[in-house]
């Protein structure tokens, strides 16, 4: 390379080849870092030295039978509410997308109501259902009654909790699933119809498998929220993780240590779920990425990237 001078500017060209480069400095990173480290140190100091934490008590109760029983109840509530909520959500999503205006309106009303009423209010409401409807009857509408049950025997605090959580979840799940179904292009449905599939085959074999892959990440998030929402059932005296801890500290007044026990277990469960979710999403990625030369980064791109529709 020759060093050429620029006749117009009158200056000379200065090559940057081989010259030492000084990286940009970030002085504020150091200031922020020091402040954060100080705060973390103070927090750890508080955890370790504060007498009221009573770590020995925390350890003593961490594997207490009552606490572990509460843990199981919390998991049962989470799974049942999620299963009922999702099943109902798929149905509501289909109704929402139906050509029948009555189905659409009923689904809309359902979503409006159960997204609008807080789950805690619902739970208390369901728990007190007997005051409104003392007997649940099975029979022909406006006709003879075949069987009836006392409402209070059907609605326990557990089933009231499931109802409140599942119905709220159904409304949110319905919106996610609807969005997932709509994200699958109309061309997919048409391509399936023209090879002679029935509308239910199109839904089951072509649209739902693609839609569900789209909604798996948000459903994973919902599962984690659901686990935390179950702690609301403590107001109905359902012995879940939180309520079990509360019952113990109402007897021995060791409030903070027992709340710490509950906190630790919630963190353990949410961490496990998060890891499981990430693992699952990665596997979805891999099963498709292994097939083509596309590689990891291109996956989950099922939305029509084909041609100009």
């Amino acid at each position: 390379m020759t060093v050429a001078s620029d006749p117009a500017e009158g200056g000379t060209f200065r090559s940057a080849q081989g010259v030492r480069k000084v990286p940009l400095r970030h002085p504020w990173w150091w200031v922020g870092g020091v402040v954060l480290l100080l705060l973390i140190a103070m927090f750890v100091h508080l955890l370790v030295t504060n007498e009221n934490m009573r770590w020995s008590v925390v350890l003593e109760y961490l594997f207490d039978a009552e606490i572990l029983g509460g843990l199981v109840t919390t998991l049962e509530l989470t799974v049942l509410a999620m299963v009922f909520g999702l099943a109902l959500g798929i149905l509501l999503a289909m109704m929402r997308l139906s050509a029948n205006p009555l189905f659409r309106s009923v689904s809309w009303l359902w979503l409006w109501f159960f997204r609008g009423v807080p789950p805690l209010v619902q739970m208390v409401f369901w728990f007190n259902l007997a005051t409104l409807i003392p007997e649940l009857k099975l029979g022909i509408p406006f006709g003879p009654v075949l069987r009836s049950w006392d409402t209070n025997t059907v609605i326990s605090s557990f089933s009231a909790a499931i109802l409140g959580l599942a119905l709220t979840e159904s409304a949110y799940a319905a919106e996610m699933i609807r969005a997932g179904i709509q994200a699958v292009s109309k061309g997919q449905t048409e391509a399936a119809l023209v090879i002679g599939m029935s509308t239910s085959q199109v839904m089951r074999r072509i649209v739902l498998p693609q839609a569900l892959r789209i909604v798996i990440p948000p459903i994973g998030n919902d599962l984690i929220s659901m686990l935390k929402f179950t702690s609301l059932v403590s107001v109905l005296a359902t012995p879940d993780l939180l309520y079990s801890a509360q019952m113990i500290y109402s007897r021995n007044y060791k409030t903070i240590p027992l709340l710490l026990v509950a906190t630790i277990w919630y963190l353990v469960l949410t961490t496990l779920l998060t890891v499981a979710q990430q693992h699952f999403e990665k596997r979805l990625t891999l099963t498709r990425a292994t097939a083509g030369p596309a590689g990891n980064t291109r996956r989950l791109r099922f939305l029509p990237s084909f041609g100009k529709a």
């Binding site: 292009s185 061309g187 997919q188 048409e190 391509a191 399936a192 119809l193 023209v194 090879i195 002679g196 599939m197 029935s198 509308t199 085959q201 074999r205 072509i206 498998p209 693609q210 892959r213 498709r288 097939a291 083509g292 030369p293 596309a294 291109r298 791109r301 099922f302 029509p304 990237s305 084909f306 041609g307 100009k308 529709a309």
Partner: protein
């Protein structure tokens, strides 16, 4: 001539105020290749989509082997079909789309076997054998286990053709099959379609490929503004069109 395989009879279709098809009638006989040409928005694709009831005409009827599409005779009246009955009719007509619409969650071979297995109840093994034959025919046997997203547009379209043929249709509908392809990939797809035509498949092809229409079609149909303007053998339409609209369209595209 005897009964046409496909008869389109005075079909009208509007989208809102937009009158897309106006009294269009057309007969397609078994073994014929008919190419539908015309400017964008002339109703060509809508006409094709009315044939297999992806769009339901506002008036008029379509008949496959004399049976009305979407309706059944009951005594002297026509009853609208259930979606299951309609599916049985659709099985007899293959369709290839401009945007391919392969199933992205299924491998290439599964795209081809899906219809025969799920719809016709064919056993897995025979379905795979038949699918491999079809994939070799369109030159993609080695891509059988790939996922669609790893294919080029031309390859995707050839898989889409194989997927349609797997249902052994009596009639193939092509809706601008090469319009979404890079120019160098168009030839492969057209070659597959030519082979199909020479084997005697009945085809209705909406296309902008004038050379294909001239060389392969028995019949060329020119549409403009929702009307069927004129139809005839390619030598007549391309060399001596009767209508001014046909002439001006051809002078722009040739």
């Amino acid at each position: 001539m005897n009964l046409p395989l496909l008869r389109i009879e005075q079909v009208n279709k509007s989208f809102g105020r937009n009158h897309v098809l106006r009294d269009v009638s057309l007969d397609v006989h078994a073994g014929q290749v008919q190419c539908v040409i015309g400017p964008s928005g002339s109703g060509k694709s809508t006409l094709l989509r009315c044939v297999n009831w992806l769009e339901v005409p506002d008036s008029g009827h379509v008949y496959l082997e004399g049976e009305p599409i979407g309706f059944r005779w009951k005594g002297a009246s026509l009853h609208e079909m259930t979606s299951a009955q309609l599916a049985v009719q659709r099985r007899q007509m293959g369709m290839v789309f401009q945007g391919f619409h392969l199933f992205p969650h299924r491998r290439v071979i599964e795209n081809v076997t899906e219809g025969p297995i799920i719809v016709n109840g064919l056993d897995r093994k025979s379905a795979r054998e038949q699918a491999m034959d079809l994939l070799s025919k369109v030159g993609l046997a080695e891509k059988a286990d790939a996922f669609p997203e790893s294919l080029s547009g031309g390859q995707m379209q050839r898989v889409a053709i194989a997927r349609s043929l797997a249902m052994r249709p009596k009639l193939m509908l092509f809706d601008e099959p090469t319009s979404a392809l890079d120019p160098e990939l168009v030839g492969d797809v057209l070659d597959v379609m030519k082979d199909l035509a020479y084997e005697g498949m009945t085809m209705v092809v909406v296309t902008h490929e004038m050379a294909f229409a001239r060389d392969v079609a028995d019949h060329v149909v020119f549409m403009d503004g929702g009307c069927l303007v004129e139809a005839g053998p390619p030598e007549q339409i391309f060399a001596a069109p009767e209508h001014e609209r046909t002439r001006s369209f051809l002078s722009r595209v040739l």
